[in-house]
Every structure is written in C-alpha cells, then in structure tokens.
Symmetry: C2
Subunit: 251 residues, 2 copies
C-alpha cells in the first residue's frame, strides 16, 4: 500500500512539514515518490523512482519552500506495475486547458475499462489506467471546466465504478479544489485561526503554525494516516468523497 498526502489552502502555503512527515514513512514505501504543486494554473511536478528518504529530488522538496494552494503527494510501495519512473504517482493530464493531478492508494483487480478517448496510460499501473478512464469520462460529461460543485456531482457518480474493483483511496486536483475519496484509509485536518503547534507522529519534528500564519489563513491537509499528534484529524467513512476549497471542506 502507498501513502497519500493532499493540501488545499486559501493562500499559497508550503508543505515542507507535512511532506517531511510523509517522507519519514518512506522506509516501507521505497518504490518511488512524487509531489505536484499547483501555482494558480501552473504546475510543478516532481517524481522519482527512488525512495523519498534518499532521493535528491525529495531533498529539494524538503528544503525549498514552494508555496502552493493545491498539493498532491504520494509515496509508493509497488503492487501493480514495475518500479519505474513512468509508474510514479501523481499522474498528470491536461483537460479543458487545465492540468489535472491524480494519486491513488490501493489496488484494483480486473479494472480494464475501454479507453476510447484521448487519454492513454504511459506506464502499466492500475492507477494510471483508472485516471485515464476518469479523465475520459469527465471529458464526456462536460463541454468545458464546470463549477467545482458540478464536478463534485460528476465525480460522485464516477469514482464508485473503479472502487468496485478494489481499494480506491484517491486524491484529485485541477488547481481549483482538492477532491479526496476514501475506500479504506483517509484522514483530514483543517487548520485555521487560532493556530497552534503540531508534532509529527513519526519523527521528532514540530512546528508552531502561529508563527508562520496570518489569522485569515485556512489550510486543509488530507493523508492516509494522521501525520501529527495533538490535532483533530477526522477519519473518512468508506465511500466518502470530500472536496476542499479555500482550505475548507465544502458541501
């Protein structure tokens, strides 16, 4: 199984602390890592098929305070697909003049939908296949980028279909919102004023968010397992889809 990390904020925020929390789980998840940062419509996409513990690319991400309003990260333990760069999550495609970023934790059995649209997997994972199908079905459902609420309704219809084939914990973003869909393990946390201190669950690292934020800041973090102790992480129910915008869960 892999581990997911998502961040959605109302003001560009760095994710170094949370990524450090994710990366220290990389001993078990040594088959690659990836992270994608939206900056408005633009996207930075870093992947490596080396562990986030040792990758120079991960080292850059830990040290370079890239500020973003939507982030999706993933550390991989291969289940399907070789350990290769083309199989590293998150995956990226363009649709309607927006980049879309997708990461998956889980394992789909026999999900081989007909891919007759404009999206084909480059690698050989079940995850990228599911993403290509999802993009194809989104492209058929709307003529251009719909509102976040409309997209959420479409995703609520589409996401259960691959989920019938196995575990399908998923993060998706187009830079406007972060969608998180749970099969088995997903937790979310919303940080807002008054900010306190947080301690990473797995490593001797803490941060005082009060010193780094302004009162209007709102940040939502989604992760496979809670990354910190002493903060009110909320577990998703199986099958639950949440959408985060401006640092808060919406509708």
């Amino acid at each position: 199984m892999c581990q997911l990390l998502g961040m959605n904020a109302n003001t560009p925020t760095d994710v170094m602390f949370s990524f450090a929390g994710l990366a220290c789980r990389a001993d078990e998840h040594k088959d690659g890592f990836g992270i994608a940062f939206f900056e408005d419509r633009g996207l930075r996409h870093f992947i490596d098929h080396h562990s986030a513990r040792t990758s120079p690319v991960a080292e850059l991400v830990k040290r370079y305070p890239i500020k973003s309003d939507n982030v999706i990260a993933h550390i991989r333990k291969a289940t399907q697909g070789r350990v290769a760069l083309e199989n590293a999550h998150p995956f990226v495609r363009e649709l309607w003049g927006r980049y879309w970023v997708f990461a998956h934790n889980g394992d789909l059995k026999d999900f081989r939908p007909r891919l007759h649209g404009a999206f084909r997997p480059v690698g050989d994972t079940d995850s990228e296949r599911a993403f290509c199908w999802l993009m194809q079905e989104l492209a058929k459902s709307h003529a251009g980028v719909p509102s976040v609420a409309e997209l959420t309704r479409t995703l609520a219809e589409l996401l259960p279909q691959p989920a019938r084939h196995g575990t399908f914990n998923v993060l998706l973003s187009n830079g406007q919102a972060l969608w998180a869909r749970c099969s088995t393990h997903l937790h979310a946390l919303e940080r807002r004023h008054p900010f306190g201190a947080a301690q990473l669950a797995d490593e001797d690292l803490s941060v005082d968010f009060a010193a780094l934020t302004t009162p209007g800041d709102r940040v939502a973090v989604v992760a496979t397992e809670p990354l910190t102790t002493g903060e009110p992480w909320s577990a998703f129910a199986p099958g639950e889809l949440r959408v985060f915008r401006g640092g808060c869960a919406v509708a």
Copy 2:
C-alpha cells in the same frame, strides 16, 4: 528570444555540462527555465519561472546527474505570455500512451488555429498554442505511435505551417527520438569515439568526455548557439528539420 537545448544519446547520459552552458546565458533570459528528461517512457519535468541562474530547481539539475537518452531544455525571455509557471517551456502532453515534450524559440504572429481536438493550452503563449495544434494534427494523422520515419514525414508537413507566422525554432521528443526544426538559429553537434575535451563558450568550465564515456557512446546536442568552443558544431539551414536517434542524425 529564448534559448533551446536538446540532447539525444544512445545510452543514458547526464546533461549537466551542457545545461551549465545554457544556464550561464540566463542573465538575459531571466523569465523562467525548464528541462525535461526522458528515462525510457518515463519523464522528469522541472520548470521554474525564476531564472536558471538563481532557481533552486536549476541548482538541483546542475548538481544531480540525471541520466537520460532524450532531454529538452529551455531558458525563457518572455515575448508573448506573462512570466508565470504555466508559460514555462518545455510543455508536456500525452498522446498514444507516450509523453511528448516541446520547446520553442521565437515568436509567432497571429497563429490562432482552430483547436477542436483534445489539446488545449493552459497558459497564454503562442508556443503552447502551436504545440497543442501540433499534437491535435499528429493525433489525426496516425492511429497510434508511428515509426520515427513516419513521424518525421508527418512533422515535415506540419511544422512549416506555424513557421509561416514567424520564428519557429523547435525541439520535440517523445522519448524515442529528438526532432529539431530551425527557422533562424539552431546548431547541432555529435560526439562519438574518440572523445576529447570541451570548453564552454561562455564560462570557465571544461570537461574531458574521454574520461566519462565508453567507445560505443554517441551523443547529439542541439542548441540555439554553439555551447562549446573547439568542437565541430553544424548550423541548421532555415527550414531544416533534423531527427536524432541513438545519438546520431538519421534520415
């Protein structure tokens, strides 16, 4: 005007020396940089809207010996499109289960083709618009990834069309080959046994390739202007299209 760098090799090769040569021209080209490395079908894509002189991402690329058989890099001086991450070259799209990477040096006037296919620009440059049109036309011309020779024939028909609208020096790769098309300025160099030493044209940096290579290695480098002194760079003719595979010009 921007500067382009492409590399095509028969064995995964690092591009640190050539990238250093490109980056030292970044004083004039301060509006972003980008570099994409194929590793087989997989792709690493680093972009920044800061100068390659100061960007921490460029610093990583200069220090991390990423070995690749096809590389495209670009340093940007904005002509059309804001200085923003979504306008940084090279651009990436997926077609037929392969990533395609494109960078452009020049300026197209009034090239506004109808984009009725699956590819839309995310940013607002003439370059990304031309790339989306090119991908759309390739998708219409072949049912799946054709041979390099067939692709070269199709590209020889397509590339002159945007070129009628201005300067269109272009690098394109799908990981199988590197296509380079010249309007005004493009130079190529093929390094092979016996390897010698090379000296960067703009910076006090030299490298002895004999110490870093084996006799079977072949590497082709394409750049807007020759990057080194004392090596036999060959200038492209206006309108010339060359394709490099396995480190050599083919066809």
